[in-house]
C-alpha cells in the first residue's frame, strides 16, 4: 500500500516537473526580427510626435514624409542580420493630408493628429517574417464656458479646458488666450489658470467688448507634454 502511494506521488512530481519545464520552454528567448519591428513602434511614434510638434508650431506640412524617410534610412543602415524592407503609407482621407490632420475648430474642439501605417519585412537565411501596424498620435483640446457681465463693457470669461492624448487626459502648458474685439484678436495678459492635475483646467480673464451682451469669441492655444500644439475657438455667451 505504501509503495503504491509513493508511486502515485512520484508520478505526480514527475508530471509537474515536466509541465513546468515545457511551459518554461515557451518563454521567448530569441531576439526574433518581429520583436525588433514591434520595438521600433516607439521610434515610429516618436517620429510622428516630432513631425506633429513641428507642423503645429508652424513648420512644413510635408515634414512627416521627410522624417519617416530619414528614419527608414537609419534603420536599414543599422540592420546587419537580415535584409529588411520598410514601407509606410501616410493617411490621405477627407481629414488627413499627408498623414496629418490639424483642425482647430470654432466650436471649442481642436485636434492635432498624425497617422501612418507601416509594413516591415525581413528575410535572412534562417527565417522570413513580416509585421504590419498603424501608428496614430492625436492631441485633443476641448473648451467650454461662458462669461459674466461685470459692467457695460467688461466681461469675465470663465472656461473649462480638457487636454487629451489618444483619448486619455494629460497635463498641458503654454496656454495662450486671446479674444475677439470687433475684428481684432486681443491677447490675454494674465489669465487665472487652475489645474486639477488630471488634464482638466479652469481659466478666467476679463475681456472688453464694445457692446453690452455681445458674445465673446475666445481662442486658446496650448502645448501638451509631448510638445504638440493644439488650439480651439469658442463663442461664449452670458451666464
Amino acid at each position: 500500500m505504501l509503495i503504491v502511494s509513493a508511486l502515485i506521488v512520484a508520478l505526480l512530481l514527475l508530471s509537474t516537473a515536466i509541465y513546468v519545464i515545457e511551459v518554461g520552454k515557451q518563454v521567448p528567448t530569441v531576439s526574433a526580427e518581429t520583436d525588433v519591428f514591434f520595438g521600433y513602434k516607439q521610434t515610429v511614434r516618436n517620429t510622428l510626435i516630432s513631425a506633429l510638434a513641428n507642423v503645429t508650431a508652424g513648420g512644413n506640412q510635408a515634414i512627416l514624409g521627410t522624417d519617416l524617410s530619414e528614419l527608414k534610412a537609419a534603420i536599414l543602415a543599422n540592420s546587419y542580420h537580415a535584409m529588411l524592407t520598410i514601407d509606410y503609407d501616410l493617411l490621405n482621407s477627407s481629414d488627413y493630408q499627408n498623414g496629418l490632420w490639424v483642425s482647430w475648430e470654432a466650436n471649442g474642439f481642436g485636434t492635432s493628429s498624425a497617422y501612418s501605417s507601416f509594413r516591415f519585412e525581413s528575410s535572412s537565411p534562417s527565417a522570413t517574417s513580416n509585421v504590419e501596424y498603424a501608428v496614430n498620435v492625436t492631441s485633443t483640446l476641448k473648451i467650454n464656458g461662458n462669461y459674466l457681465q461685470l459692467n457695460d463693457t467688461v466681461k469675465q470669461v470663465n472656461l473649462t479646458i480638457n487636454v487629451l492624448n489618444e483619448g486619455k487626459a494629460v497635463l498641458s502648458h503654454n496656454f495662450i488666450f486671446s479674444y475677439q474685439n470687433a475684428t481684432d484678436w486681443v491677447p490675454v495678459d494674465s489669465p487665472s489658470i487652475s489645474s486639477f492635475s488630471n488634464g482638466t483646467y479652469t481659466a478666467s480673464f476679463n475681456s472688453e467688448t464694445a457692446k453690452l451682451n455681445d458674445p465673446v469669441v475666445v481662442s486658446l492655444n496650448c502645448q501638451d507634454e509631448r510638445g504638440i500644439f493644439v488650439g480651439a475657438k469658442l463663442t461664449c455667451t452670458g451666464q
Binding site: 509513493a6 513546468v20 519545464i21 515610429v44 510638434a53
Partner: protein, 140 residues
C-alpha cells in the same frame, strides 16, 4: 523473542525503505532547468529588452536630446543585473559618438561581449535620429 518473530513489522520497514527509494529516485530523475546564462542569445535579448523598455514612452530619446548622460548610465545600470557588464555608446546619424565619456559600469572585461544597435528617434520638433549601441557581457 516475540519481537524477533514479528515478521509483519520487518515487511513494513522494507516497504517504507522501497517507497522512500522510489520517491528519491523520482526526484533524481527530474531534469534541472537549463537556463542559458551568459549565452549570446540571452544577452542580445536582454540588451534589446533594456533599450526598448527604457524608450517605452520616448524617455530615453528625451535624455539623449538633453545630453543627460549620467541619468542614462543610472537607468541602464538599474535595468540590468549587478553581474552584467555594459557599455552604451550613442551615435548620431553620421556615426559620430555623442557621449563625451563612456557610459559603462566598469572597465574592459575578458568575457564574451554581445552588441545590440537600437535606432531611436527624438520627439522634439527638430527631428533627430540616434543609434544606441549597447554592449553586454556577464562578469565572472
Amino acid at each position: 523473542m516475540r519481537l524477533l518473530n514479528n515478521k509483519k513489522g520487518q515487511v513494513r520497514v522494507i516497504e517504507a525503505f522501497f517507497a522512500s527509494m522510489l520517491l528519491l529516485g523520482c526526484l533524481a530523475l527530474i531534469p534541472a532547468p537549463t537556463t542559458p546564462k551568459g549565452s549570446t542569445v540571452n544577452l542580445v535579448w536582454k540588451a534589446q529588452n533594456v533599450l526598448l523598455t527604457l524608450d517605452g514612452d520616448g524617455h530615453l530619446a528625451g535624455l539623449v536630446d538633453n545630453r543627460n548622460w549620467t541619468s542614462i548610465e543610472q537607468i541602464v545600470e538599474s535595468a540590468l543585473p549587478l553581474t552584467t557588464w555594459f557599455n552604451l555608446t550613442v551615435y548620431d546619424q553620421t556615426q559620430n559618438i555623442l557621449n563625451p565619456f563612456p557610459i559603462s559600469n566598469g572597465g574592459a572585461i575578458s568575457g564574451n561581449v554581445v552588441s545590440y544597435d537600437y535606432v531611436c528617434a527624438s520627439q522634439s520638433s527638430t527631428f533627430v535620429v540616434y543609434v544606441l549601441q549597447l554592449q553586454l557581457a556577464v562578469m565572472d
